[in-house]
Symmetry: C2
Amino acid sequence: MGEFGLIAALARWLPPGPAELVGIGDDAAVLAAPDGRVVATTDFLLEGQHFRRDWSGAADVGGKAAARSLADIAAMGAVPTALLVALAAPPDLPVSWARELAAGLAAECARAGASVAGGDTARAAAVLLAVTGLGDLAGRAPVLRSGAAPGDLVAVAGRLGHAAAGLALLSAGLKDGPMVAAHLRPQPPYDAGPEAAGLGATAMIDVSDGLLADLGHVAGASRVLIDVDSARLRPGDRLLAAARAVAGARHDDARTSGDAPAPPAGEDPGQAMAWVLAGGEDHALAATFPPGTRLPSRWAVIGQVRSGQGVVVDGRPWAHPPGWDHFAQAGPASG
Amino acid sequence: MGEFGLIAALARWLPPGPAELVGIGDDAAVLAAPDGRVVATTDFLLEGQHFRRDWSGAADVGGKAAARSLADIAAMGAVPTALLVALAAPPDLPVSWARELAAGLAAECARAGASVAGGDTARAAAVLLAVTGLGDLAGRAPVLRSGAAPGDLVAVAGRLGHAAAGLALLSAGLKDGPMVAAHLRPQPPYDAGPEAAGLGATAMIDVSDGLLADLGHVAGASRVLIDVDSARLRPGDRLLAAARAVAGARHDDARTSGDAPAPPAGEDPGQAMAWVLAGGEDHALAATFPPGTRLPSRWAVIGQVRSGQGVVVDGRPWAHPPGWDHFAQAGPASG
């Protein structure tokens, strides 16, 4: 399938959305921007860095690529309207894989109310996507990283630590379960972004690098201290079970290889808490709100903004536990 | 220089533009879309396929990456407003190279009235850019590929064949001159796009794959025949000189290697004409206009739209001359 064949096929597999005035097939797309402004972001999803084709199916890859950009749009307080997808792939990529990729892109777009309106294709040794998301603010001010003020509440909507737990399970050779699904197919709560803007959020970010790292971006841009309350972030039963499973697999590995003393198997609440605080790629939304804001139940208050600089947990700096693998958890350089 | 360092540096090197309400550094950019619609396109520029780092300086790469997307915006009849740049690069890429790349992006944006408003960075084995262009229609209808009608004039603004001649010169080991500069740094006539829309253009495309190939897209989308008048496309002296230089270099090569009979050196008007008709990447604009439209001098009438299907030259199908290298001229799959 050549380039024009691939583009024509993708156009058939990708249903048009409500914002598409001109869709795939011309020099450029034309999209409704009723607000008179457009929110725009671009993100890479690279094979070998952000996904592995032996772990992620093509639909997973499409879903994850879409989620990364759509979550950035939501984190501005905007409603996603469209994606542009630049896809580079090996020439022997099966047509079925491209079709599943398109299905994954379309499904995640549909969750957010958007559509794939255009893109580009090229040859490359590995699969690579660069996805641009566009969105509409519906008359609201964008929610930046820089507006948090001392006294504000810090709240989160969406999952924390699930994708990191799933990656750890996959790395340990364990393939099933909801945490693995969360890693392969993040489900950001897109509509919580405009909701937060409507509630008067003073700052917002999507949790792609890890809760503390991303709150650090807010703290830096807002020149404030963010104090996270660990009692509000206790890992749930499924995260604790995942931590036990990973510890068990490492214990078994170490016993089998005989290279080193086996680490203790069993409960490891520190590992689960580390996933919550430092695991990225769930694309939860973290926002700050003026004191006294009444938040819907999906927004969990997890801390407070104070005068100062940086991010602390229970008033103290937090450090990764021994054995934390920065590379595996945080993925590659990516904005 | 890590990811956040690179992003911070790029932000310093890339001046904000008039459409940027929120620029580099948040989850997403916010751009003015005064028309209530936004024109959007994404294009790859890949090392080894679209450029070679031993031929193109970093500023050339930035300029070319910007030009590909900005020309697509202009070809819709829109004014470019902003770019988002996804840049993947080897970890040992010199800082000076990134700085020059940013300078090239900024310079080409400035030619078009736009700016770089956001992007992403990642690690990769080779340099790779995926550039999204955004633009504003200022109340006009977009000029699609599908509106050409029998009787319309076909006209071109900008250069044809220069980039292809430059690539042929570089491939022959000849590095200097205006054709090489045209290949390394295309200069699309961006403002001719909105101008054509204002003059009532019925269809438009940017010449990225080659004049006949791109007119073929217009003919296909409009279900018409386009008849190009070769007498209006005679190669100029500089293209003829480039054809002589390339033929001379091939002659010398063949004599030196002794592998095959040397091709004749000297005049080759067929080669120069082939560059004009089939060479891509100058990003000229080709448009159709209602009969009788009075065109400004930079729009050269080169043919006519008739009933039928496809593209002909002087009423007949045109074939590439013997020895035409599709791969070297057309580059990779790219929309």
